[in-house]
Amino acid sequence: MIAPILELRDVEAGYGPFRALFGVSLAVEAAEAVALVGANGAGKTTLARVASGLIAPSAGTVLVDGEEVGSGRPSAWRFVRAGVAHAPEGRSVFASLTVEENLALSFQRAFGRAGLAGALDRAYELFPRLGERRTQVAGTLSGGEQRMLSLARVLVESPRLLIADELSLGLAPMIVDQVFETLSRIRAAGTALLIVEQQVGHALELCDRAAVLEHGSITWQGPSDEAGAVLESRLFETGTAP
């Protein structure tokens, strides 16, 4: 049996003394797409952070390919090198570096000096808008452009699993469509997805499976086409109706 790319077993996590997750178990198999839905403050972002090694669980284990990564200390870089990439919530670019430097930071490590130019070209191909602004300091980009930049950084590396947290938040509808198109393209190319979305409709359409997070616990898991009904029956406060 092949181990799932990512597996959380009875994970508890939080910030200082505050617990945000209580005994969460969740697995993402290779090439699978999972939508994680839940109300504001349910702990979705925290789950995404634990799943990418950004914070260490206070109990339970996080396994990548069936093996524990890191040792108690948060070590996101190990997860990235194991093929788990995370496009975090909100602004997530280096504001003082240029667009190109932001990209080069990831690409040079992943592809080496020789592969750098090619990787940059692929990023600019994906988002031509970034190509026009390659020497601009990232802090001066618009919100949408910053989101593209952080997406470009993770997409070009073609990770085996992409964790995307509220990608569409604050983006113009046209760009949202474009982002989801990109996601379905890389999904078709074999990348597994763990998607956290306010726009539940979009997310459920894209994914095979859904998990519902409430107050730090997963209360329902199943095929994504059944998720809509479940959500409605629970009168979920997600803001956007499915």
């Binding site: 950004l54 975090p88 909100g90 003082s96």
Partner: protein
């Protein structure tokens, strides 16, 4: 009137003369900023690191006879980065989420402990009278005069060349290399850097090694300018670096570079012109003699006080900064009533037993030590007020204490004033100075307040003490700063026993004042403010008043303690008791043992005065073993182990910000509470 041609020639000479030291200041400022930016550590131990490299160079070249290049490589390019790596790996990596102030305390501890550790490990002692040589062959005896106004010697040329090359390399590193890019990324957000697949710990370690190399190089280059290798000289060097770095608000590398050079130029030009002016105006003479050595501190203080924007540098814009919240302090503990009763009884019993042993059995030496402990506890209560209650770091408590001591010296010496009245006056003067000082520095907060007070302490040390109306001037050099013991009616406190009683009475009164202050409005306002820089920035009227009061009360307590200590030793003994480095020591020992409570200060006083004779000299063991013959050959241990231990204490502090003793007490109290409750549960 001399012509303007002369003026420009003098100016030019001053600038040329100031360039070599300016280059070294720039070097150390660059390293300092690099560390601060990449790890948030305000590394006051930088001077200690520079000292170690300089001492290693001296040992290898002068004592062992190694060639200069080999000594340079080992001291600046092997030992220096190694120390940086070790510090990062063993200490600062684990303090990433600690507050800037905690990191500062750790760095202060290291600044005292590192030189001692090196001296112990390498069996190095400051060698007086041996020439400290630069890195060039015939460095100080071959001259070049490119412009016909100032003759550079070879060592000076080397200083400038090394600084130039190092700066260019650093710029190239940032501009063109992957590790440089990664360092810039880590500065902004270590967590996000990790999400690019880069090990941020490695990057920080590299930055530490690099900046420590800068410190080491600066130490080796600057050493020939000192008469002998003493670590405190190098501490001054780091204050200069801070002044240079402050020009760039601690974050800009190019401006730190300019700041270093500018300081070098400013000092040299000042020295060129001041004698000329003071020839015309004799009243400038004392300034000329006294001000020059302290110019960097004056500049630093002026920058901090006059530059309105400096303290308001925005905090790191790390979007993921919320991911690692700082480790919370333990919550206040509800004690079981039985436990409270027991600890009270035990405390009273302990004091009674120790008191009577001292009273009836102690010889002159022990009576003296115990009195010192009591007086130090008084002084330490001043740290309890300013740091424990107000959460501010003041590094000029020694200065306030010195003001107390000098006041009674002056008053008793000149006006034959009653010594006790003079002591109260001294506390008042210290309070006034504290209040006035707090006005401009209050808005700074955090590490800025710490360095402003540090600059003030150095300024007092270099300038004020030299004035005859403060430190006694030249007469004090001959007769010392003598202070009599008080005499109240029939009681003559010249008796050591009577004086001990006086000290204990003062300690009790001051403790009560501190507790009253803590429980009152001021204390509650301060508690609400503590640790919240946001609240401090938008500081309201009542909050500002509370802080000024805290500053003034703290200064008054320090002044009173300083007066007592001077009476006790019947001499102010300024440089032994109250020099700028002493205050660093005091701060660390108090916060490490517990700055929030009166007991913490008392324990710190006891540790300060009694640790060395009791533990290191082995007297406690002698007493337990009943005789010197059984004492293991290990004893007496060298006094510098005290300083090493002190460094370790500082490191431990960062993990337990409530203080080590407090931490231990809470843990055991929690355990006993549970045990008592379990027993009661079983009984009912």
């Amino acid at each position: 009137m001399t012509g303007s041609a002369d003026f420009f020639e003098d100016l030019f000479r001053g600038l040329l003369q100031g360039t070599p030291p300016g280059a070294v200041y720039a070097l150390i400022a660059l390293g300092f900023v690099l560390t601060y930016k990449t790890s948030g550590v305000f590394n006051l131990a930088f001077g200690a690191q520079a000292y170690i490299s300089a001492a290693m160079y001296f040992k290898a070249h002068t004592l062992w006879g190694w060639p200069k290049w080999a000594a340079l490589v080992v001291s600046a390019f092997v030992l220096a980065p190694l120390i940086g790596l070790v510090l990062e790996r063993l200490i600062f990596r684990h303090l990433r989420t600690a507050s800037a102030v905690s990191k500062l305390v750790v760095a202060i501890g290291l600044s005292v402990a590192l030189p001692e550790l090196f001296n112990q490990a390498a069996r190095f002692t400051a060698v007086a009278g041996r020439q400290i040589t630069g890195i060039m062959p015939d460095g100080s005896s071959v001259f070049y005069d490119p412009f016909g106004v100032y003759r550079f010697n070879r060592d000076e040329l080397a200083m400038m060349a090394v600084a130039l090359v190092a700066t260019l390399l650093l710029a190239a590193l940032f501009r063109f290399t992957m590790i440089g890019l990664a360092m810039r990324a880590v500065v902004e957000s270590p967590r996000m850097t990790e999400m690019s697949g880069i090990n941020a710990d490695r990057v920080s370690a590299f930055a530490w090694a690099l900046s420590s190399t800068f410190a080491g190089l600066a130490g080796v280059l600057i050493a020939p300018r000192f008469n002998s290798l003493v670590s405190t000289d190098f501490f001054t060097l780091v204050v200069i670096a801070v002044a240079a770095a402050a020009v760039g608000k601690l974050v800009s590398l190019p401006r730190a570079l300019l700041g270093g050079l500018g300081l070098g130029w400013f000092i040299a030009v000042f020295n060129t012109f001041l004698p000329r002016w003071s020839g015309d105006h004799t009243w400038l003479r004392p300034f000329q003699e006294n001000l020059t050595p302290s110019l960097p501190f004056v500049v630093l203080f002026a920058i901090l006080v006059l530059w309105r924007a400096i303290g308001r540098e925005r905090e790191a814009s790390d979007p993921l900064s919320g991911v690692d919240p700082p480790p919370p302090a333990l919550a206040a503990l509800e004690r079981h009533p039985k436990l409270t009763l027991f600890t009270r009884l035990f405390g009273v019993g302990f004091v009674a037993v120790v008191g009577s042993v001292v009273w009836f059995r102690a010889g002159v030496l022990w009576m003296h030590l115990v009195t010192t402990a009591v007086i130090m506890a008084v002084i330490y209560l001043s740290v309890t007020v300013i740091t424990g209650m107000a959460g501010q770091i003041s590094l000029c408590q020694g200065t306030f204490a010195a003001i107390g001591g000098f006041t009674i010296f002056q008053m008793a010496d000149r006006f034959n004033m009653s010594v006790l009245a003079a002591a109260l006056l001294g506390a008042g003067v210290a309070a006034a100075v504290g209040a006035v000082l707090s006005l401009p520095v209050l808005r700074l907060g955090g590490v800025w307040l710490a360095i402003a007070t540090l600059a003030f302490a150095f300024f007092f040390d270099a300038v004020m003490v030299k004035f005859s109306w403060v430190g006694g001037g030249t007469t004090a050099l001959l007769t010392g700063t003598r202070v009599p013991r008080p005499l109240i009616g029939p009681i003559d406190f010249a008796s050591d026993r009577a004086f001990l009683v006086l000290a204990v009475v003062v300690l009790v009164i001051v403790s009560i004042i501190v507790i009253q202050l803590r429980e009152g409005t001021v204390g509650r306002t301060l508690t609400a403010l503590r640790g919240s820089e946001v609240a401090a920035a938008s500081i309201g009227i009542s909050a500002a008043r509370a802080r000024i009061i805290a500053f003034a009360v703290s200064a008054a307590i320090a002044g009173l303690g300083g007066a007592l200590l001077s009476m006790h030793q019947q001499n102010v003994n300024y440089s032994t008791n109250f020099g700028p480095v002493n205050a660093l020591f005091w701060l660390v020992i108090v916060v490490a043992l517990g700055a929030r409570t009166v007991e913490g200060a008392i324990q710190a006083g006891a540790a300060f005065a009694l640790f060395e004779p009791l533990i290191l000299k082995g007297d406690l063991l002698v007493w337990i073993l009943r005789g010197e013959d059984h004492l293991p050959g290990l004893f007496p241990l060298s006094g510098s182990w005290r300083l090493v231990l002190f460094g370790m204490m500082a490191i431990q502090f960062a993990r337990h910000p409530e203080g080590l003793v407090e931490h231990g007490k809470r843990r055991s109290a929690a355990r006993i509470n549970r045990w008592l409750e379990a027993r009661e549960g079983a009984a009912s």
